[in-house]
């Protein structure tokens, strides 16, 4: 009797579970699932884009959901791919692309791109290069944000006896300005800093200043080469010079005291150290301008390019940004690619990126750029974008290099380690990891009969 009772319960449970399923939509539409990593007002803008896309594409239903995505937290996507249930389209940070493609996490969309008539000339070149791996296209670039511009507080400049309309242009000037802009209180505590060369992320700073000093991090194999493996050059003499310079700020002002001052404010958007007046100069990402206008509307500031040594790169910059790709295991479909193409090249998609996310489109012909030319702040960023030759690196071990650079910069700042030795070690370790990863890819390509196709 009890068994029958249990059976009845199981049936009831099955009926209840079945009843939860949604009724199928009346009209037959292709459903595309899309994972995006944005929250807050950017998510609202994405929602508007979704409505607009569905309005202009009546046959497609866009199913959009959130998935965290940064170098340390793409678990949801990766586990979905490994588990065989990925979304049709995903956002991917440009610097992750080679890594994800090499791991086999993405689907090759070269044929779709060729059919659409889009070429590398339609996009800012560094971002286009960042969409490719081993000669194939794995994504379209959506955003292209120039890193970075130098912002300075005119009030702090005046108080320090500096010309508020003249930013430092060389490293020597930057050091001199920093010295004048650094203030202590009567207890000997730091209360204002000139500039913090490592900011919060030692890893990004190494790229920023390394390129500014004229350095480089990776030499890809020459075109036509049989191998995919290039040469890691993280210990480029100019990078070493840059790191020595970064270290001089810890020696002069003590990284711990600087950190103590930085952590005295909470929340990067509302209490950015520049907004609250504890950093007189700071490198800014274009997206941060919005917070500046929102949270520090009365702050008098100037926007300029990053100072560089006389034999360095001036103006300097590297480009980052989001791309859109099809995860492995999802069937690359015409509809999914149409969504990617629409987001990355249509007026609506690219203008929304510019207006709602305060980033620049990777698509050069976007009408958004017409609105930028007259904006006193954005036009400086636009100049930096036009002149930028770099992305971080095109290596499939970029995340690893970033991590090692972060540790390395920390070691130099906290332990006074020798920059040359630190960067030498990073170079050896990264090269080793790079070869390990790419040998696997080369073996796979040979097995697929694609040998020699690379580049």
């Amino acid at each position: 009797m009890q068994l029958r009772f249990i059976g009845a319960m199981l049936i009831a449970a099955a009926v209840a579970a079945g009843g939860c399923r949604k009724a199928p939509p009346a009209a037959k539409k292709t459903v595309i699932t899309f994972w995006q990593p944005f929250a807050g007002d950017v998510k609202e803008a994405m929602e508007k884009l979704r409505v607009e896309f569905e309005r202009t594409h009546p046959g497609i239903e866009l199913n959009m959901s959130y998935a965290a995505n940064n170098l340390n937290a793409s678990q949801k996507l990766f586990l979905a791919i490994a588990g065989g249930a990925p979304p049709d389209v995903t956002m991917v940070d440009g610097q992750q692309l080679a890594e994800w493609a090499a791991r086999g996490a993405l689907t090759d969309i070269t044929d779709y791109v060729n059919t659409s008539g889009l070429t590398g000339n339609d996009f800012w070149l560094p971002r286009w290069k960042e969409s490719m791996f081993a000669g194939r296209v794995y994504a379209l670039p959506w955003g292209a944000d120039p890193n970075f511009a130098l912002l300075w507080s005119k009030k702090a400049f005046r108080e320090a006896g500096l010309d508020p309309d003249r930013p430092p242009t060389t490293i020597q000037e930057l050091d001199e300005y920093s010295r004048k802009l650094t203030k202590f209180d009567n207890r000997g505590r730091l209360i204002q800093l000139g500039i913090v060369p490592w900011e919060w992320l030692g890893d990004n700073s190494m790229f920023t200043w390394g390129y500014a000093f004229g350095g480089d991090f990776y030499e890809p194999p020459p075109p036509g080469s049989k191998t995919l493996i290039g040469k890691v050059t993280a210990n480029h003499p100019k990078n070493v010079e840059a790191l020595k310079w970064i270290a001089s700020y810890s020696r002069n002002y003590d990284v711990r005291k600087i950190r103590a001052l930085q952590t005295s404010v909470f929340g990067m958007a509302t209490n950015n150290p520049f907004f609250v007046g504890i950093e007189a100069m700071r490198l800014f990402h274009v997206t941060e301008l919005k917070w500046l206008h929102m949270y520090a509307p009365t702050l008098e500031y100037g926007v300029g390019v990053i100072p560089a040594p006389p034999d360095g790169e001036h103006p300097t910059g590297w480009i980052g940004g989001w791309s859109m790709a099809v995860p492995r295991g999802a069937k690359a479909s015409a509809e999914a690619f149409e969504f990617i193409r629409w987001m990355c090249t249509s007026d609506e998609g690219t203008i929304a990126l510019g207006k709602a996310m305060n980033q620049f489109p990777a698509y050069k012909k976007s009408p958004f750029f017409d609105t930028v030319k007259d904006d006193p702040d954005l036009k400086v960023f636009y100049e930096i974008l036009k002149n930028s030759k770099h992305v971080r690196t095109l290596m499939p071990v970029q995340g690893y290099l970033m991590e090692l650079l972060k540790r390395g910069v920390n070691k130099v700042l906290y332990e006074d380690a020798d920059p040359q030795q630190v960067l030498d070690e990073i170079t050896v370790q990264t090269q080793k990891r790079l070869e390990h990863v790419l040998r696997r890819v080369e073996l796979q390509m040979a097995a697929d009969g694609r040998i020699g196709e690379a580049r």
Binding site: Q2, L3, I6, L71, N72, A73, Q75, F78, I81, A82, R103, G104, A105, R187, G188, R189, V255, R256, K257, R259, A260, L261, Q262, T263, S264, F266, R328, G399, Y400, E403, K406, R407, N410, K411, L413, Y414, E415
Partner: protein, 295 residues
């Protein structure tokens, strides 16, 4: 109905638990043992490596650094937490007025959501304007001696220990329950024999509640070995400053889900298992000498 007919029903009712345990606990444990012997970059098949991951473990300075950070934390946080919890429990056991109120107040921090607690303590520990340092300055501590807490590599772990003490109310509740179980006649006869308060604490109270002390010690040890969330939230998973808060579980997590070296991370997990196992075994062995089970 006869007794012996009922086992299928028992099994049926236990089935959700059995299935859950087998598929979500036992299978992953066995699978991780296999993965720990492979190179498994999440996509594609794991490649057999034999003991290479374990050999790398032995020479990986970051593994040892994170083990040291974790041991440091455990050595200070567990005994201090037990001590504070016990002190509070002893005070509250003095039949103070408003016992329920105090008990609730001291217990409350241990149920504050973790992220909120971290946000709060991030500000309390702020070196320049935080509540704690302002208090130290008010007490007349010279500026050079005021700790840098999470901004300074030597103070970051003590900062987390201080923060963990805030949650000692969890242990306090257990101690308080145990204290109220100690038979009053023991204290009375000891008093008649002229035992001082200290004697009563040392010779009656502590032995009588020693099983609970052992329990909190073991649980505390296991908990601190797996210490992760606070460090992850307060440093955004970086282990800053300069790896001072790179705890073992954080290192393991980053290896698995930032570097996607699942094979190596599995090997790290097994090392952690061995360390916890040995530590617990050591505590249990010692406890034979000190723990008194009066039932």
């Amino acid at each position: 109905m006869r007794q012996d007919n009922r086992w299928p029903i028992g099994i049926a009712f236990c089935l959700p638990l059995i299935v859950g345990l087998a598929s979500l606990t036992i299978y992953p444990i066995i699978a991780s043992l296999y993965y720990s012997l492979t190179d498994y970059p999440i996509f594609g098949r794991p490649v057999w490596l034999g003991l290479a991951n374990y050999r790398e473990l032995v020479t990986d300075p970051r593994v040892w650094l994170s083990l040291w950070n974790t041991a440091y934390f455990a050595i200070f946080a567990v005994p201090l937490g037990m001590f504070c919890g016990l002190m509070l429990a002893l005070l509250l056991n003095l039949k103070v007025k408003g016992l329920a109120f105090y008990r609730t107040m001291f217990f409350l921090p241990s149920i504050v959501p973790l992220i909120a607690a971290c946000a709060l303590w991030g500000q309390i520990l702020s070196p320049q304007r935080g509540l704690l340092n302002e208090f130290l300055r008010f007490m007349g501590l010279p500026e050079a001696w005021v700790p840098g807490w999470l901004a300074h590599e030597l103070w970051a772990k003590p900062a987390l220990v201080v923060m963990s003490l805030w949650g000692c109310g969890g242990g306090m509740v257990l101690y308080l329950a145990a204290l109220q179980d100690v038979p009053q006649e023991l204290y009375e006869s000891a008093s008649l024999d002229g035992a001082t308060a200290w004697h009563r604490l040392w010779h009656i109270t502590l032995p009588m509640i020693s099983p609970v002390l052992l329990f909190t010690l073991v649980m505390g040890l296991i908990g601190t070995m797996q210490y992760f969330a606070q460090a992850y939230v307060l440093t955004s998973g970086t282990g800053d400053p300069n790896d001072a808060t790179l705890f073992y579980a954080l290192n393991l997590f980053n290896t698995a889900f930032a570097e996607y070296r699942l094979g190596y991370a599995s090997a790290m997990a097994w090392l952690m298992f061995v360390v916890i196992f040995v530590a617990t075994l050591g505590v249990m062995k010692l406890s034979n000498r000190y723990v008194y089970y009066h039932s």
